[in-house]
Symmetry: C2
Subunit: 232 residues, 2 copies
């Protein structure tokens, strides 16, 4: 049997849930589908930081998984913007895209796909506070839970990665497979305050935070920083 | 300012999302509330396995966080059952409970609270496939997203930890604080196949899996194994 690899990309400071949600879903699916191999890939195998007190370590290096079939890149705050200048990370995404069936992202991970040149002329989404910055990469921002453009799928912020991953299982193996994983992670969401009421979105409160994040993360890359700030 | 610590307990083989969901929510809240300190605690600081290819490392040892105000223990499969016999882990939970305001769990993490003697006479929940096993710890199983009994709160399977954690933020700091974190993680769930349709739950398919998990995890503790098998 030919195994195909789903590679989850890690880099320092990422948002933990962007990674953990879809990784749980796809690992759960792989337990029932031996044709899928799951790898967590990073530049090295060393333990690295997340945006929580938990530190994480990949299972493989980029070099060990040169041609994954599917790729997911998580997002984050300033560290993700900093990663836009990480040539090894961006190079990995760019090379993987030449052979992968599917490149995906969660949250501001879409900016990394954009930096790798993969969003040009596509519809894409990201965390709601960063949506307009996607224009800096030639993408058309859309407010969707995920934006499926065939070979590139971008998801909205953080928790949207769970929905994205269930969509991927459904796309790969059909409804029954996706439903089995959904029961496995008991994904029957009950947000205590209900779904988000977007009329209450803290837009004004978030704007300086986004500005600060872009300025901090791209301090060393003024051209890209200004390109992003011009859009948001 | 007095800081209170929220301790997230890790042990080998846990289910990643049980931990990562609530950890993301509480860390997000702590960013806006400096009175809350978040720690990930384990027996040692060494990197350990999860039920995914991602390895994780705690930020503190049990000894370094002897008196947390809040504790969350995640669940998992056979490794969680094995952890029922981990005296250091169970001892930490038992000691923490003597001073903590609140002991919480996600998924089969409630069995660990049960083993620490914290569920006796209480309503409690866990992953739907393990619900009846809670009786072995003197608890009354309830089918709820989370069961809040005052000083002990147990959540349902895996993804329920996100809902639990938002409930905790609401309980600690009110609706506005919980809503801010919910916008932060863009928690506006859209399961591709909709909410779980429980008439389709794969009960017969899961039964041998649960049996196998209990037998594997508790191979060295036949008495406890039989007590759990008698309930499920």
């Amino acid at each position: 049997m030919t195994q195909k690899t789903f590679a989850f990309v890690v880099y320092p400071g990422l948002t933990l849930l962007d990674l953990a949600g879809p990784l749980q879903v796809i690992t759960g699916h792989a337990a029932a589908d031996p044709s899928v191999r799951v790898a967590v890939v990073g530049e090295t195998l060393e333990t690295t930081e997340t945006d929580t007190p938990l530190r994480i370590a990949p299972s493989h290096t980029f070099d060990q998984v040169p041609d994954p079939s599917w790729v997911l890149v998580p997002g984050g705050g300033a560290p993700t913007l900093r990663a836009l200048g990480d040539e090894k990370l961006i190079g990995y995404l760019r090379r993987a895209a030449t052979t992968a069936e599917l490149m995906t992202s969660v949250c501001t991970g879409s900016l990394l796909l954009g930096q790798a040149g993969l969003l040009e002329g596509r519809e894409a989404t990201t965390h709601w506070t960063f949506l307009e910055t996607l224009r800096a990469f030639g993408a058309t921002p859309v407010r969707q839970r995920w934006a499926d453009t065939g070979s590139v799928i971008t998801a909205a912020g953080v928790s949207a990665g769970i929905d994205l991953a269930l969509h991927l299982v459904e796309r790969m193996r059909g409804e029954d497979a996706a439903r089995l994983v959904q029961f496995g992670i008991e994904y029957d969401p009950r947000p205590p305050l209900g779904p988000l009421d977007w009329s209450l979105a803290p837009r004004e409160r978030m704007r300086p935070f986004v500005d600060h994040t872009v300025r901090e993360g791209l301090a060393g890359r003024p051209e890209l920083r200004d390109k992003l700030l011009a859009q948001r």
